[in-house]
Amino acid sequence: MAIDARTLLLSWLLPGIAGLGAGVVLMAPKEKAAMPKSSEVSADRSETAKLPDDPTVIQLAALAGRTGEARKKIEALFAENAPDEAIAEWLAPVLIADPAWLESFILTVHEPRRIDLVRATIWKISEISPDAAWELVRSSPFAAMAARTTGSDVEREGLDVLNGCHDSPLAAEVLFDPANGFSTEEATKFFRFGSQNTANNKRLLKEWFAGRWEGEAPECVRAAWLNLRWLEESTLRELEKEMPEALETQAERFESLGKLTATAGMITEDPSAEELGILGPEELAQFAESRTEAGRPLPLETLAELPPELRGQTFDTYFSYLYPYHQDVAQHALDVLDQLGLKRSERQALLEGAVAQEWSFTGDHEKALEIIARMPDREAAEERKGEVLEDLVKFDPQTGLEFIKTMPSGELKERMEKLAAEGMP
């Protein structure tokens, strides 16, 4: 059959188009009729109606996905040269609803302003929804870049802008996802105080197992271990099974610290030197301080049994908190500290701590000067003596003068006499 143009038009195209058109016409009213007359539909209809010019209404509409009005506000704020914080207030709800929009929006912002504006917005979002702050960082490469860049607000360096967001379950997931471009150092620093969220602690430990940190594990790993042990011990035990053998020694240390410190409740016994020996210097110092705070300081005799490189850091703060409630313990430590075979610098550190407490707390200059007289570092001792006498002469010149009389003549005596004369009525 020969098909000419006219036949084609009449037999095929025209009826075809007519059928198509009729179908559309037929379906259109049917579609409407098929929709239930629920509130959803009525809401849907008025969703196109104009919103009142009320910031709360517009921001909530933005959070619920209608961002047009909020975007107009943002434009207006730019036009009137508003500060970053004011714009961030409006960017926050829009970006919570539509985080990916930042990528196109930011291109319309004057370049030198971009980082500061986005950081102000991340901060704003972190205050209202920590999860949303991480969603933004994950959805927008520019937000991730801004989060790690210190802007002109040097108080809030790099990732500190997400400081309210440690406990969001997304934190570790976003920071350790290579797609987001954060370095190990950045993540390590961010989690230095740990997280109270199980998902983050699990991820930190998994990263450690996978070899992210070589050698000594950083603070964030220890914090993750201890937090998880505290929050959900069963999860830690399960996870532990994946741990490479090479990390066992370090993990044992975390466990010891956990066992020693996590005994929430009254402290009734002192650990042995063997038990303490498994801790690292940092952990021991931290543990020793918690014992002093609790009024059960580790006996100096036990600390002296530990190797110097381990015990060294505990001596600076040994006497803190012993006054006024444990002066007997302080006195005992003073009585024995010369007989324990401690190094010269260690005795010096202990005596420095003791004299600071004694003079500041009891104001007993005779006792303070007795302690100073025992210091192995004579130069430091002279300096301390001068400081205590100066305080004494200034605050109690009469007593000071009486003491000065007993001193051998010299520069210190002259200086004190002069000061005392100024103080006497």
Binding site: M27, A64, P93, D131, S168, A264, E293, D364, D396, P397
Partner: protein, 363 residues
């Protein structure tokens, strides 16, 4: 041939019609179900309250806050858990405090999921409100310790939102057993807050309860210091100052770490009559203690010490050097009119009057 000629266009028409209807139907049927939450909702399993969520979101998009609030209230009554899940995504929703309080009290008690849910609420005011209502609803029906253990998990617990109402109630009605529990558990700063509350209800029992804090209670030495502060400011009198100093031992008044801070705590809150008595109490101390303690009068209240008052305070310093230093730092903190020199006559010594004149000359 003619029949065929007519048949072909008719058949084409019908096929085109059927095809169009079919395609449109296919395209339109799933649409109403997945409309509001788009792609994300379609790919995830739907929430049991998805229709309520999209209804509320729809109302907000239409600017109908009152309507959204009513729908939220119904959701909170029906499914408090879902209510908080949605609320976490609607920061700034006005007028929902009551709904938060009521819904929180209805949440299932003591599960890890609820703790996590409440801690995900972004705005701190809402989080505190929800935690407060959630735990307070159990006071008297669940043991204190259980409520405490749940409430202490509240995020940013420095605001104590999960345990504050429990502590207030216990401070009034059962301070001994509650303090015993706090001592046993240990930890820092909560005991300070507890004594703050105790001072409102039973100030006369503060010293006695303070003495029950045992050796070996974690954080106790740290806490004692701040408990004394709370005790001092809770009852800003000279008598109470002396009582707190007494609990620092026999040389407590000498303590540079403690005594001036305690003076500050009471003096800054005391009435004029009590201020006089506090100054008398300080003046009766041995010289070193007296001079150390006086610093506390000026800690932060330099600005609030009037010229007449300053003249009385500065007299208590036992030495001209300390008097001069006090004058200099006090004058530094005042916004005084250099032409008004009448107050200078009240200063206790000639040396001070002269120094004050000199400083004013230089201005």
């Amino acid at each position: 041939m003619k029949a065929t000629r007519l048949l072909i266009p008719a058949a084409v028409f019908l096929v085109a019609l059927g095809g169009t209807v079919g395609v449109l139907k296919l395209a339109s049927t799933p649409a109403p179900e997945q409309e509001n939450d788009g792609v994300a909702a379609a790919s995830k399993p739907r929430h049991r309250e998805e229709s309520a969520f999209s209804e509320i979101r729809g109302l907000l998009r239409a600017g109908d806050i009152e309507g959204a609030k009513s729908a939220l209230r119904r959701l909170g009554e029906r499914d408090p858990l879902a209510f908080f899940e949605l609320l976490a995504k609607l920061p700034g929703m006005p007028g929902v405090d009551d709904i938060i309080r009521e819904s929180a009290a209805r949440l299932p008690w003591n599960t890890k999921e609820i703790t996590a849910l409440l801690n995900r609420i972004g705005p701190p005011e809402w989080r505190d409100l929800a935690w407060g209502a959630y735990t307070a609803a159990r006071i008297g029906t669940v043991p204190d310790e259980e409520i405490f253990d749940v409430g202490i998990e509240a995020r940013s617990h420095s605001s104590l939102s999960g345990i504050r109402q429990l502590m207030e109630d216990a401070a009034e009605k059962r301070p001994d057993s509650f303090l015993e529990m706090l001592n046993r558990k240990g930890g820092t700063s909560i005991r300070e807050d507890f004594f703050e509350m105790l001072m409102k209800h039973h100030p006369q029992r503060a010293a006695e309860l303070f003495a029950t804090i045992p050796k070996g209670s974690p954080g106790s030495n740290y806490d004692r210091r701040y408990i004394l502060h709370a005790r001092a400011r809770g009852l800003p009198t000279a008598e109470n100052l002396l009582a707190t100093l007494k609990d620092l031992g026999e040389r407590g008044a000498y303590s540079w770490d403690h005594a001036p801070s305690l003076v500050f705590q009471v003096y800054s809150k005391a009435t004029p009559e009590e201020r006089e008595k506090i100054l008398e109490a300080i003046a009766s101390q041995p010289v070193l203690a007296r001079n150390r303690m006086l610093g506390g009068v000026f800690y932060e209240s330099d600005k609030t010490v009037s010229p007449e008052e300053f003249a009385r305070v500065v007299k208590i310093y036992s030495t001209p050097l300390l008097q001069r230093e006090a004058l200099e730092s006090w004058m530094e903190s005042q916004e005084m009119d250099p032409s008004d020199r009448s107050w200078i006559h009240d200063l206790p010594t000639e040396k001070l009057k002269q120094r004050a004149q000199e400083i004013l000359e230089r201005r």
